[in-house]
Symmetry: C2
Subunit: 364 residues, 2 copies
């Protein structure tokens, strides 16, 4: 017994629920249970099936929910294109084609322009700050209000941390180099690029590689070294730029069809709420741990050139970002409330982080 | 029904599981269940009962577990001194007096010197980095190995983020001002202060106020504005210094008695594992959201003087910290492995964060 426990303890998760292959149930005393209703759900995602980090997180979530519920919540996960295309996830869950989805709110910007603020805002909050706003700054209430007319319940479900500025086949030495630049970049960041003279393109992850390879685009942002290496973007681009001004800590989302949500008993609802928060913690941990090793592989083994965006380019993007985000707020009353809440929280948390997180990281 | 859902959605958590008073179970369809074994546990903490952030987190954890398990896991939370004293939590859970505890690993430094590394290391990792190391860098395996001889299973269960350097009744203008300074400061930070000429004192949170008020100590660190305001430390100290070099992102811990853990069926074990990760995410969110408002209250309403530690003091503390931490590693083979793992991860994650989190926060 001691040996069995020891073995299971040496897995990354006690039950292998995080970051390991599913393990045998540890511990004893599983009790006889009366047969109960089993909820068989489909979870559709915007990610290539099992893409490290983004695609594996919903798989882990489903596994955790199955173990916690003794199989009463049995969720099958689909990659982009298996049931519906990446950008059809929102509508498909809204209509009940699937009970649940996993993606990012800025993918729905064509339908709900302000939604992007629940994923990420150029020059806005990092992961820790987004989590603070969503859960203790009023953000989640606004997000639920925004999705309610679509019959969807949103839950924060992952964060990549600060991303890279992206992969470029053209050098960016000055503002002039942004003119005419065709770049895959979603959400508000894409609008900022457009205003700065570039041409943003919306593409799901599964199509980025080919677009860059064929020259249909000059550049792409995706996530960071761990994810970018998995897509082999270094094989079709010359330069790797930082920092990710456009995605300083994007929140990934789970969305649940409201009728499906309402059909669940309270214990299963609670499991989804708690497990999505755990996955939120888990995904950032995974990216934090694996990005640097992937970066070293990219630089040392594949000869990738790492470059900083020039200061004047950053300064211009910062100015344009402030305009673009403020204009998005003018769309309607709810958008303005979302903007005001976000900006007020950002101002507040920035002030504190100047003497805490930022002061510390610069002092250590 | 729509109105009911709307009301519950406007609470901070869908089910009120995070940051709200316990709500009525939302949704319908609660099913008849066969009577099942109820596990009634005691959870003892090192915190004053219901202290905001630190003390409320284990209360939330217990509430979540109760809802998720339909009452099968019924945990009663005790503040420090209610069943055992704050610094007796480790032994009491080890011996089975209580099934579970919540505290911080550096409180057990007298018994297991290297344990402090699982809470926080002076000039070491911040919250995001600690989570990465624990869950994807081998940290949790080492922590479990360290606690196994004591019959305890550790789980990361909260983080405050970068703390403040603390409350002082003496000005710190140079290294000379550290000489003879009597300061409440636990863990490795305390040893660093001692080596730098001060006198560290170990005190649980509930005794800090009186010690500072009576002049038994000249200074104390506690957490940050949100928590410090709750302890009213501003009423008994003159200066509030930053940044928290000694606690850049302390991990709080849950500890579970191994026999109690083994007695649980796999679904309840999974709920504890997942719910502690969710609380880990939740506590940092709460501190992140509430620290700045508390800081403004301290400065604007209570006239607190905010000061930065001088650069030469920071530089000396950094040098001494490196020595102290390296010496702690020499204690035994396991301590050395823990140190090596931590330092290797820190070096790696620092390198990446220089071009991501740090580069971004300085650029925005």
């Amino acid at each position: 017994m001691l040996k069995t426990l020891r073995t299971s303890l040496l897995c990354l998760g006690l039950l292998g629920l995080f970051g390991c292959a599913p393990a045998e149930p540890a511990g004893g005393g599983a009790e006889a249970q009366a047969p109960q209703k089993v909820y068989r759900w489909k979870l559709i995602t915007t990610w290539p099936k099992n893409l490290p980090g983004l695609g594996t997180a919903p798989e882990r979530l489903a596994e955790q929910l199955k173990v916690m519920s003794n199989g009463r919540l049995d969720i099958k996960v689909y990659g982009a294109g298996e049931l519906v295309g990446a950008f059809e996830v929102f509508d498909a869950v809204s209509q009940g084609t699937a009970e649940m989805g996993h993606g990012a709110a800025y993918y729905w910007r064509g339908k709900i322009p302000i939604a992007a603020m629940f994923a990420t805002v150029p020059f806005g909050m990092n992961a820790q700050e987004m989590n603070g706003w969503l859960h203790y700054g009023g953000g989640m209430d606004l997000w639920r209000e925004l999705y309610e007319p679509f019959g969807l319940v949103p839950l924060a479900s992952g964060n990549t941390g600060v991303q890279m500025a992206g992969w470029f086949n053209k050098e960016i030495n000055s503002l002039a180099d942004l003119q005419g630049l065709k770049m895959r970049i979603p959400g508000l960041g894409g609008e900022v690029l457009q205003r700065a003279g570039g041409t943003p393109v919306a593409l799901p992850g599964g199509e980025v590689f080919t677009a860059l390879q064929t020259g249909a685009i000059d550049a792409t942002e995706w996530v960071g070294p761990y994810n970018d290496l998995a897509l082999a973007l270094h094989t079709v681009a010359k330069y790797y730029y930082y920092p990710g001004w456009h995605e300083p800590g994007p929140t990934l989302e789970s969305i649940v069809n409201k009728d499906a949500w309402d059909s669940l008993p309270a214990d299963l609802q609670a499991m989804i709420e708690v497990a999505t928060r755990a996955i939120n913690d888990d995904m950032l941990s995974e990216f934090t741990a694996r990005n640097n090793a992937a970066l070293r592989t990219l630089v040392d083994e594949h000869g990738v050139e790492l470059r900083a965006l020039p200061d004047d380019v950053i300064a211009e993007l910062r100015t344009v970002s402030a305009e673009v985000v403020a204009e998005a707020a003018a769309e309607n009353e709810l958008a303005q409330r979302i903007y005001d809440s976000y900006m007020s929280f950002l101002e507040d948390v920035r002030a504190y982080h100047e003497i805490s997180e930022q002061a510390y990281i610069n002092a250590r």
